[in-house]
């Protein structure tokens, strides 16, 4: 693998992440770096373990082995314990000795926001409310103050609302702010999911198949949109995607997974020329 020197600081680093469910190794020894302001792609055939890797980063799953480093600090680390000690099939057993876990909401507070493969908007709420939920964690008023509308609560609510409006303007959803989230067309729902993630003030954004179900025109727009928010919100982005135009057009670095294992990484040009990748996608010579 061609190791390109990147002088930017690493904001997200996965070291030897392995996720084993029973006897199935869903993610096998994944090593991945995301640098500041970089857009990194994670590709692989269906069932390669891409979303599982996302879930390991965001605290939905506890990885069986390995560590996740966010902004230079190890926040999630685990090693095979209990029954898994003998059942473990992955590599690097014994390299990690600490068991650090973190709940998804804490990971979000650290500045890692995500979107979902199958859109998960809050169905019973308007577009504006969807975004405002994501700002809830940053408000400091207690439940009593908020219920009885203390001065602080009213001010916080006001700034929250204004900020949410501002954000919706930036993602072209301002006109739809009072519509129910589920009444939006599909493409706009995707945009809203990203807007909602942005409302948590992230420094790292994880996008799980943002272009799924989009036509070429829409994916082209999405590509530009992702580039724009990266600059505007000073983000580092890790994205899973199947649309090769999107991935090849926007990512600076690509990691390829197959059957949980990492089979290649490099720039889009390197990946396109990589024989292991072509074999994984198109099947090798029998």
């Amino acid at each position: 693998m061609a190791e390109k020197k990147d002088n930017r600081e690493v904001v997200l680093r996965l070291s030897d992440i392995t996720m084993q469910f029973g006897g199935v190794v869903a993610v096998d020894n994944l090593n991945l770096d995301v640098h500041k302001n970089e857009i990194v792609g994670l590709i692989g055939p269906n069932g390669a373990g891409k979303t599982t890797a996302f879930n390991c980063i965001t605290g939905v799953y506890e990885p069986t082995n390995g560590a996740v480093e966010i902004n230079g600090e190890v926040v999630i680390e685990n090693y095979p314990q209990g029954k898994m000690k003998d059942a473990y099939k992955g590599k690097n057993q014994g390299k990690y000795t600490k068991a650090l876990t973190m709940l998804p909401d804490k990971v979000t507070k650290l500045g890692v926001a995500r979107t979902f493969q199958n859109i998960r908007l809050f169905k019973g709420m308007t577009v504006l409310e969807n975004v405002m939920v994501a700002m809830h964690m940053n408000q400091s008023e207690s439940v009593f103050g908020a219920t009885f509308r203390s001065k602080k609560a009213r001010e916080e609510e006001k700034t929250m609302r204004e900020e949410a409006m501002e954000l919706l303007k930036k993602v072209d959803l301002y006109e739809n702010r009072n519509d129910m989230a589920t009444s939006l067309p599909y493409g706009k729902q995707r945009h809203l999911e990203i807007a909602r993630a942005l409302a948590t003030h992230p420094s790292i954004l994880l996008l799980d198949e943002p272009a799924a179900g989009m036509n070429p025109q829409e994916s082209d727009d999405l590509m530009k949109f992702i580039g724009r928010i990266r600059d505007e919100f000073d983000l580092s982005i890790l994205m899973i995607e199947h649309h090769m135009q999107v991935i090849m057009g926007i990512c600076e670095h690509i990691y390829v997974l197959n059957y949980g294992g990492q089979i290649a990484d490099g720039t889009p040009e390197e990946i396109q020329a990589n024989s292991a990748v072509i074999e994984a996608y198109l099947g090798g010579d029998e």
Binding site: A113, G124, A146, T147, T200, H243, M248
Partner: protein, 435 residues
Amino acid sequence: MENTLSKKTKNVLTVVAIALFLILVYIGDITISPGSSWKMMITVIEKGSIFALVAASMNLLNGFTGLFSLGQAGFMLIGAYTYAIFTIPAKSHNAVYQYFDGGLIKWSLVEILEDKIGIVGHYIGMLIPMIGAGLLVAVIAFLIGIPVLRLKSDYLAIATLGFAEILRAFFQWNTLGPVTNGSNVLRKYATYDNAIFPVVVSGICIAIILLLINSTYGRAFRAIRDDEIAAEAMGVNLFKHKEMSFVISSFFAGISGALLAMFQTTINATPFNTVMTYEILLIVVIGGIGSITGSIIGAFLFTAASEWWLRGLDAGSWLGINSSLMRPGFRKVVFAILIMLVVLFYAQGIMGSREFSWDSFLAWIKGRPEAIKTWPARRKAKAAAKKEARATKAAARAKAKAAKDEGEAKKASGEKLFTALPVSDEVMVFGKEGK
């Protein structure tokens, strides 16, 4: 909408409506003689407002936080007992706790405060145990919530239901007799003397629940209801918010328990069983899961139907109809059928997840004459649409049958049934660019 009211007008309307209602209740309770059949209306208002409060508190959990909890009757039980125990007059203790040497607590908060500061103290002496009942229930809910709220959906319902049942048995335990009077009734405790009391207390509590739901915490609750995983990913601490909702809901269930104790004037653990929980759940479902307005309407309708309008069915004569079928218990049969009809034709409940607003109310009123006028036409249109749908369905069936026949024919003649699927888009693109 073309004619929306200004915020000020709405506030004035709300205040006037509430004041008018309260005055009517107050005067009604004073003037209507106990023998009058209209007295039943006052009873319905009292009991209805108490059930409106507990239904609203259950809706906060089930409809707004998405926690399917069935512990409400148990929490009401604690509330009712807490209130009653601390307000039984000292001289009545020997009569009430006749099997337990006059009980453990020999004083009444109401009497103590009344002696000190007069009539105001009397009411403060009632309010303190009532709020104390709510707080005690909240503390118990907090402790129960720690293990129980890790469960999801049906499992949570079973755990809370089981807890409520255990409580019922616990309060009837003879060893606790000096406090709870074992399986005997508690009576002679202080109660209110005008129907306005439960209406005002319930009203304030429901207003607080509404304020909570419309605050940023309420938004977080609704986010949890809509999608737990997404809510967590947006930084909402699941456990903290679920616990918060559970504790607050239980607090208000405790208050309503205390009010119910006052309404009934005697209290016993037996009626606080699963049937009561289901009645509350029924009110929530009939009114609309996720609508406080619905819970209030549902509570009054339910109470009016079961206590007042359908009473005649048990007594043998109802709306001038006399039948041998109408004997004690028949009311419940009719009631069950009514509920089925409501659930069938208002699947979302009366209000769905909408709330009352003056704008929509006025629009609804204004739309009535028009709606009544156009009703025959609409019915015709509906019938026509139904006919058309039936026709389309029949056509589709015919088409499907034709296609099937064709397939059978092809199969018989040995033709290929399917053609090969095209290669998917993503692979094509990759292949083109990659090579």
